[in-house]
């Protein structure tokens, strides 16, 4: 069973197409790629309706801001694909933003490492309790959600913590590299690495196997607990990184930011067609999901800018919620059609 074939030109293309099963109905394709279609339609809508929608400034600031959600969504996607959930990412990001802001006078590396490290630590605690003590992820991460929020307020003294503007720390969130925002680079890297990890590593396949049937995965001898632990560790660390970017981008550690980010991330993952019960999912569609949710806000801002209607932030939230519901409903319908068509 250890034979191997020579690498050829078609190898990668074939391999990239490989995880998508053939002989599935068009419903499956529509369900998994539907979010991409919606994204393209929304971009076309925005581009024809508003000036400067596709201008460099708008695109780059959109990416700069939404990369935080992107990072969190990558971690969340892995957790959800194991059949778990991580509610602690939002306040973990807030905690990391405070810690990195406090350490920001010490340069770039230390606050960055501390922020990511704090997130990783919370992820490890989640993972350990979930795998060793066998407590439901929902409960465990709800507890760490509360604890992280408390810690963030405690460290911050219940107010925002200004960052140092001289140490270079703000470059993480505000700087560019090759004309592209640094956070967007990080986000892009996370998505590429995440995609590779999911589709081309034993780790990724084990994640899906666990979500598909945990008991079977255990009986197959797969390292179930270790992989679950690692997904929470990853999710925590990425949330930490998002928190560092938050502090750096807005010039302050924000103990009360991040509330609801976990829901944004879950929404992005689910809109991307990943099953909330685990076992099936895609990193690429998760990216589409993040961009889709980000674009809706962006478009609402443009709409306000046109001065025809004026929507408060509250109404924007309502509209986003309704839009999300529509997308999820559509997907549920498609999944049903797919089921009826026999896969």
């Amino acid at each position: 069973m250890s034979e191997s074939i020579p690498m050829n030109a078609g190898h990668l293309a074939q391999a990239l197409a490989a995880p998508i099963a053939r002989k599935r109905s068009r419903w499956h394709l529509l369900r998994t790629q539907g979010v991409l279609v919606a994204l393209v339609l929304l971009i076309i809508f925005g581009a024809t309706r508003y000036d400067n929608f596709l201008g460099a400034y708008n695109v780059l600031s959109l990416l700069r801001y939404n990369s935080m959600f992107g990072l969190i969504a990558v971690g969340m996607a892995f957790v959800i694909m194991t059949g778990g959930i991580d509610l602690s990412v939002g306040t973990t990001a807030a905690l990391a933003s405070v810690i990195s802001a406090l350490l920001s006078p010490r340069g770039v590396v230390l606050p960055l490492a501390a922020g990511v490290g704090a997130g990783a630590l919370i992820g490890m605690i989640n993972g350990l309790i979930i795998t060793r003590l066998k407590i439901l992820p929902f409960i465990v991460t709800l507890c760490t959600f509360l604890a992280a929020h408390g810690l963030a307020l405690l460290f911050a003294g219940n107010q925002s913590v200004s960052v140092s503007w001289d140490s270079g720390f703000t470059e993480i969130g505000q700087g560019d590299f090759l004309g592209f925002p640094i956070p967007a680079w990080m986000g892009a890297l996370a998505f590429i690495a995440g995609g590779l990890l999911l589709n081309f590593s034993a780790f990724g396949r084990t994640v899906l196997a666990i979500g598909g049937n945990e008991e079977a995965a255990r009986l197959m001898g797969l390292p179930v607990d270790r992989v679950k632990f690692l997904t929470y560790l990853m999710s925590g660390a990425l949330a930490g990184l998002a928190g560092v970017i938050l502090a750096s981008q807005f010039g302050a550690g924000q103990p009360n930011e991040g509330n609801g980010w976990e829901l944004f991330a879950i929404a992005a993952v689910v809109v991307g067609g990943t099953r909330l019960t685990g076992g099936e999912g895609s990193i690429g569609s998760t990216l589409s999901g993040v961009l889709l949710l980000g674009l809706i806000f962006n478009i609402l801002n443009f709409e306000n800018g046109k001065g025809v209607i004026s929507l408060s932030a509250y109404w924007q939230s309502v509209i986003r919620g309704v839009f999300l519901l529509i997308v999820v409903l559509l997907q549920a319908r498609l999944a049903q059609k797919e089921h009826e068509a026999g896969g």
């Binding site: 053939r22 002989k23 034993a202 797969l222």
Partner: protein
Amino acid sequence: MNSQASAPLLEMRDITKAFSGVAALKNARLTIGRAEVHALIGQNGAGKSTLIKILTGAYKRDGGEIRFAGQAIDFSTPLQAQRGGISTIYQELNLIPLRSVAENIFLGREPRRLGLIDWPAMYRQAEALLAKLGIGADVRLPLHLCNTATQQMVAIARAVSQHAQLVIMDEPTSSLDEQEVETLFRVIRQLKADGVSVIFVSHRLDELYAVCDRVTVMRDGQTVAEKAMSDMDKLQLVTTMLGRELASTVARAASDSAAPETARQATLQLDHLKSGLRVNEASFAVHPGEIVGLAGLLGAGRTETARCVFGANKVDGGQMKLKGQSVSWQSPADAIAHGVAYLSEDRKIEGIIPEMSVAENLTLVLLPKLVKLGVVNRQAQQEIVQKFISRLQIKTSGPQQKIRELSGGNQQKVLLARWLCSKIDLLMLDEPTRGIDVGAKAEILNLIRELADDGLAVLMIASELEELTAYAQRVVVLRDGYSVRELQGGEISETNIMAAMANAGRATAEEGVQ
């Protein structure tokens, strides 16, 4: 001590195991030769599963010795056993339905290239493995889109690719139709030819004779017989397994079947019933006091027909009459309200609620009638529960015991009681004896017979033909969704049923139906 090829592949000796003081195994013994297909049989609770779990490292033994391939072994996890050459194919297939066939074979051991999973190689190797087993399947397809037999072959291919020397199959045929069983047997013979030994656990005795070389019989945690298959006939096998004469009960049941009451109004009358792809034209009747058997291969539309009558599947055409009245259901609740009951074939998924007590499970259907002002009348509930526990002789420590702790046969009795306590006219049973040990089988079937004798109309779907020949007054045979044959009285024989199911020449020529 000696490890030459002539020594047995596996020797388990004097194995003992107790659970919280209760002995599950007392000096159990199992010897498997090389390239041997070995039947392991016994009633539920005889210790088969415990013995296998000790072998595969899922349980730790209290005493005894295990030698495998010439070495003393002591696996502490199923993974270690797998690596040591012992693979298990579980009754509830333990694979990942949403992942592809190839992934299910190679999960955890994916072929790599430059550290990344080499998908083309994985697909090629998976195809080659399945081809060797004589299975053509799209290895890219998610497993849940494959039929059960293919899924099983995938599990076997996984074991083979791990260089297993011993493959344990726990009731592998329980969800296969006859053709699929043939395929499985072919694969087992192939394994044997390749020098792999197989432990074959099954409740279907015919299969043991078809494929096994030797047999180990267990009873009450002990090994009571170890023989060549050819040295034991079926009756010996059953009596050894049960430690008593059972055959008499089954035989008696056949003789006292009363003449069908065709004169009386039919409880259920189906006329050219059509539903979806599986039921094309089903026409038959069930009368009060009668057990009608519904026979057919998997996919012949037996379950679907029953689900139509129960209001769980949509009726697309034809007529359905209940006690002379033409009816059509919106949902099972309608059917239940009119006295129709259906016991599904999958207890675990559609029947029991494992974490709830025997009492709660038993009164679920009746619950609306037990509620006064939103409060459950506990006393009435208790009375009903006690009545049925004693009437059906349900073996339980008490009404509050969780149903999952009961044996399969007793769970089935609770489900029967669930319907019986709410005054029904028509009882439909889908494979009522599946996964139930031989002793309890006869008990359940006799109970069904008594219920029919009390005037209930019973429609029984069964794949075990001897259950139909022994218990049904009439047998309706379905093929591809058509009711192709109806057998009565002396006509009911396994040969006739099989001939009708298989569309074998003469039977069809005679039938004149369809």
